[in-house]
Amino acid sequence: MAVFSLSEGWADGSGTGLDLLKQFAKGTGGTAVLENKMADGVAALIAAVQSQSVLSIAAPTQPGSGRLHSLSIKTLEKGVHIAAPARILIP
């Protein structure tokens, strides 16, 4: 389940709370939007949700026993950033 967040704060985005929201977003495939005024970030947040992509991948041949497994998704495209879940549950 992806975590998206919208916060109001200074442009440098410093602060423990904001750092954690960024971490949650990064580790779940979501996006953390930070703007000086919350209203300015609404469109960016909606666009981020609406532009989610879905990857269909072959399930591992061995059952995962319902455990969390590490997941890594990389791209060769320069300048492209991919936020994806850091872990995946395999049935």
């Binding site: 389940m1 602060g15 979501g30 269909s56 072959a58 995946i88």
Partner: protein, 221 residues
Amino acid sequence: MTLTQRWYRTAFFVVCVWGAHGALSSLAQTPSAQAPLKIFVSASAKDGSPITPDASTLSVAIDKQPVKINSVHSAKDDKLLFAVMVDISGSEAPKETALKDAALKIFQGLTSDQSQGYLVLFSTQTYPSKRPLQPSEVQYALEHFRFNGRTALYDGIAQISSGILSKGQNPDISRRIVVVLSDGVDNYSHILAAKMEEWSSEREWRSFRCRRVGRTVQGRA
């Protein structure tokens, strides 16, 4: 046994055998008995604009083992279930109007035939709506509460991910997201931030397994 009863029994037997044959055939055609896995990702270009990544440039690994990518496409046609979590703790009181406006606009922007969402208010406790709401209902709900108390953000996310947004409660919707409107400060949760993601994923999964087992037992009874 009458002739009609015999006929029904034979028809039932034929249907069962046909069903079992179909299921076994499909298993035999699939190298792995497991269905493909769906992973939802967000991709952005250098300028931050959202994009759909090109499958030919992607590589995926599970536990460092490469995995085959079947396809990549926009998730816009996948059903979406979302929860907008609004921080109503005392420290967010100065931003009350901005938070309420943002929550309403997000509901208006995301709600569609394919997409519905819960409104979740949280401070020291979490108060989810009893069902997905329409934007007009959200507007009404946002007018009737006060900002006060401390903040239990991680507890709130964990509760939502293992409850109303869990796979167990929504087995047919794989695209489920949480939208948090907050400064991210948490001063009341019982869950540690570092364990939050792992904890909520496992709880989400456990709830799914429990419900599946429950359903099986019920089916056999």
